[in-house]
């Protein structure tokens, strides 16, 4: 089993993802430089967080045209697992692998704090070890996580069970207070139709060891590994 963490100029969560996968989860992991135009032999690709290309033009807009992306899109279309975290999610939206777009946070502030997520779909590889309705505590750190899509797209996501994570309170219920950025329907993470591509704003790689305050993020990496070994 081999994971790949794509590194764009300006990625800054690539080392955290690598560390969690390689050192905490003990799975073979490679960095994939964005100029590499062919990727093969991977079981899951991570698009990490950060500020690829300085967030110039729009978040993820330039990274989407990096040489690695053509091969990544083909890999995803063939059913390969892809998880985009924060800026990685933004890149997935710009590349069209996931629908919708990101707007500035409603508060206009960069938000960096722990949030709670309700796992609404535990049938995808990324949540295969979670229970539906389980609450995960994972930090967010972003200025543009205000997920937006038109009504038709939102309906398609909701009806298809493609909202994997929704911001929620202690009771598991979605609320305006629990939502850090103003995203439509309190959406924190969505998947594609086949369920092999996930985009999420919160950072599971920042909370995969108890010493960091929460190890809930590990459940996501565990889910992927367990899905791949099944």
């Amino acid at each position: 089993m081999k994971f790949g963490v794509v590194v764009f100029p300006g990625s800054n969560c690539d080392h955290d993802c690598y560390y969690v996968l390689n050192d905490v989860m003990k799975v073979k992991t490679d960095y994939i430089w964005h100029k590499q135009d062919e990727i093969s032999g991977y079981d899951c690709i991570v698009l990490p967080g950060g500020f690829s290309y300085g967030d110039y033009l729009r978040t993820g807009a330039i990274a989407r045209f990096s040489p690695v992306m053509k091969s990544l899109i083909e890999y995803a279309e063939k059913g390969g697992l892809v998880i985009g975290i924060c800026n990685g999610f933004q890149i997935l939206l710009e590349s069209g692998l996931l629908p919708g777009a990101m707007l500035r946070n409603e508060s206009l502030s960069f938000v960096c704090r722990d949030v709670r997520l309700n796992v609404e779909n535990s049938r995808v590889p990324f949540t295969s070890c979670c229970k539906k309705g389980e609450i995960l505590e994972i930090p967010v750190a972003h200025g543009e996580g205000n997920y937006y899509a038109d009504e038709k797209t939102i309906k398609m996501l909701e009806d298809g069970g493609r909202v994997v994570f929704r911001y929620c309170g202690r009771d598991g219920k979605a609320s305006k207070e629990a939502n850090p950025n103003g995203s439509i329907n309190d959406i924190a993470g969505i998947c594609n139709e086949k369920g092999n591509v996930l985009g999420m704003m919160p950072h599971p790689e920042r909370c995969s060891e108890k010493i960091l305050g929460s190890a809930d993020g590990k459940k996501i990496f565990n889910s992927i590994i367990s899905h791949l070994t099944r």
Partner: protein
């Protein structure tokens, strides 16, 4: 040579949190006449072409591919021969 001046704004249907905040600031300064504020981006692009039609086709293509995100943004432009 053509100079394209591209104006990018959020679609009317998309809430513009920056515009809302600027409007509130204008309200607090006493400009009660301000009904709405929308913020956007302005780009200047020089295109090496002597053919207006070709320059226009190129510009639209660039907007569609990279310069704007059609999910949330729309654009208009002026094209000046230099």
């Amino acid at each position: 040579m053509f100079l394209a001046k591209v104006y990018v704004t959020l679609k009317k249907s998309v809430l513009d949190p920056q515009g809302v905040t600027v409007k509130h600031a204008l309200d607090s300064l006493g400009y009660r006449q301000v009904n709405d504020v929308r913020l956007g981006k302005y780009m200047e692009i020089k295109i090496n072409s002597d053919d207006r039609q070709k320059a226009e086709v190129l510009l639209k293509e660039m907007c569609g591919k990279l310069l704007i995100n059609p999910v949330i943004e729309e654009f208009r432009y002026d094209l000046e021969q230099k």
